[in-house]
């Protein structure tokens, strides 16, 4: 089974959001919150890491947001306010009802990395879809080899999950880097790509999970492959505008891909030739 494997069969009507209540809300950074959601009545099927929900702010719109974790059987999503819908979702208080559709798209297929070293490369909000991968890998230390987590953010205040990064560091190599330092920052400054060289894994036997802005994923994937990670073992999570999440609206096309259906997670050899074409 590859990372781009077909999604499991879906439940019925994918068009209508199912009401969920925000049961907790944590401000991660100035513009990013993590919400834990509980179904008001019926629940959606289980979201696997990598798959996404179309989350509705009623009366405003909906947006694709990847799963960023589980709390018991409640899905957790981390949302950065970049537009009208995400702003409304970020401002919603505990108790508020939002709409959920999904799960849609492909998974990170973490199980297939069992027996391999694991490299996680995250840029900015890209750490959110990767968090369930890291948690899963660290929860089963005997199933996976060495684990290296490389995280970049624009500045220290924009680093997500800082407490959790510290906890992970007890069980894995965790390296962080920022584009711009701030007072008190003693770590490295630069692009997350620069951390790839120091990843303490056997590249030829590693599986890499990469998520962040497209330009960051392109350069990180290149650095991983240059270090000897097989291209087919580099998994990336693609992003385009989505209106439906299930292949009806046509917005998320990237060449032959419908990212909502054939992605968001694909192997690097699928993404690379498409990224190389401007304005595709």
């Amino acid at each position: 089974m590859t990372a781009a494997a077909t999604a499991p069969p879906q439940f019925g009507n994918a068009a209508v959001p199912v009401p969920y209540r925000i049961v907790s809300r944590v401000a991660e950074t100035a513009d990013t919150v993590t919400v834990e959601l509980a179904p008001v009545a019926q629940a959606l099927p289980v979201f696997e890491p990598g798959r996404f929900a179309m989350i509705t702010a009623y009366g405003i719109g909906d947006v694709p947001i990847s799963l960023s974790g589980w709390h018991g059987n409640r899905p957790v999503h981390t949302i950065r306010a970049v537009g009208a819908v995400t702003r409304a979702l970020c401002q919603a208080a505990p108790g508020a009802v939002i709409g959920m559709r999904g799960p849609f798209g492909t998974t990170w297929d973490v199980s297939s990395a069992a027996g391999h070293d694991v490299i996680v490369v995250a840029g900015g909000i890209g750490l959110a879809p990767l968090r369930p991968v890291i948690r899963r890998v660290l929860a089963e230390p005997t199933a996976f080899g060495r684990v290296s987590v490389l995280v970049g953010a624009r500045e220290p205040a924009e680093m997500l999950y800082r407490d959790e990064l510290r906890r992970w560091a007890a069980r894995a190599q965790v390296e962080v880097i920022v584009d711009r330092a701030a007072d008190g920052w003693t770590g490295p400054v630069g692009l997350v790509t620069a951390l790839v060289a120091g990843a303490d894994v056997d590249p030829a036997a590693a599986v890499a999970f990469v998520c962040g802005p497209e330009v960051m994923m392109r350069s990180a994937a290149r650095a991983l492959i240059d270090r000897g990670v097989p291209a087919a073992a580099v998994r990336v999570s693609l992003e385009r505008d989505m209106r439906c999440g299930v292949g009806w609206c046509g917005h998320c096309q990237l060449g032959p891909l419908l990212i909502c259906r054939d992605g968001p997670v694909v192997n690097h050899p699928v993404a690379a030739p498409l990224w190389d074409v401007r304005e595709l």
Partner: protein, 400 residues
Amino acid sequence: MVMTMVDAVGDKGMTMPDAGLTPFTDGPARLIDMDGLRRLVDVLRDRGYTIIAPTVRDGAVMLAEIDAADALPHGVRAETEAGTYRLRHGHDDAVFAHCAGPQSVKDFLHPSRARLWSADRTGDGAVTTTGPDRPAKRLAFLGVHPCDVAALAVLDRVLAGPEHPDPVYTARRDGTFLITAECTEPSATCFCTSMGTGPAATRGFDLALTEVLDGGHRFLARGGSPAGAEVLAELPSRPARPADASAAATAVAAADAAITRRMPAESLPDLIRAGRESPHWDDVASRCLACGNCTLVCPTCFCTTTEDVTDLTGEHAERWRVWDSCFSLDFSYMHGGPVRVSTQSRYRQWISHKLGTWHEQFGTSGCVGCGRCIAWCPAGIDITREAAELAAPRAGNEPA
């Protein structure tokens, strides 16, 4: 699996005749005349169908609900060329002799505006949601040319797949009765023969008519499904004689011969893949207005966007789905800006999807050769010519 819908439609997929199966045949062809056609409309109406058929409005053949066959466009031909569509009123009584108008079955099964759901906040802060409206009556389409029957099979693949059937589309499509009219009067923009979709009707219909003028106005009629055979049996008809069948075959063969517009013969997906960085996109973009007319008239262009609205209290919200076009700048907008800024990239997206990547996404071409995008392009851009230019990049001269 957990069912999550309140009052949903379209959960079960569809029970329409599968266009991929062996064509249904129900005995020999019958022959009906204009009275038989009038009766056909009556029979469908009595069976509870809303009958959608070609009519003449605003100087074009437009699809509309009819309640009698007299509303059909009698004696009307459509003359088309790149950027041109004109009706010509002839001196015969032919009712299906016009080529594709600006509309298609898409307009009715995949409407340009549809409500996906409405939601109301209840007293305890919860939300009740209602899915899309189910149409009150089933639709019967009369006089659908084979290219548009093929377009319907394409839409079925896109919107009625087993994994996520589109509830708006399937609620309209399910139970549709389709009467095709084999094409006997193609126009200059037609190229169905290149796409394997016409002018003959081979499958995907309940009833097939072939209009014959030579030797008296009549229609060869064949059932294509059990429902079609049943309806045919209710019409005044007589067995088709060999001379009738031969006249019908001759009319369709003449249409086939009259279609001279061609797509390049090579594999179009390969052509598109190889042409991603072609300098020809600059040439197209110098002519393309990015108006989106081609996507509106295309019988398979399905892209949509959504609009969420509330009432003044904010307690009632709705999501509407509206047609969108890959020619609009907003279509590829993400936080940070649109992906396809240039007209080059937007035209490339449209033709690449239509002729190339559609195969990878849905296992079929997105183009059926109806020629609408050629006729309704205000700049006269011709998909067959642009494909030919990609196939043989111009070397200073216009291709023949």
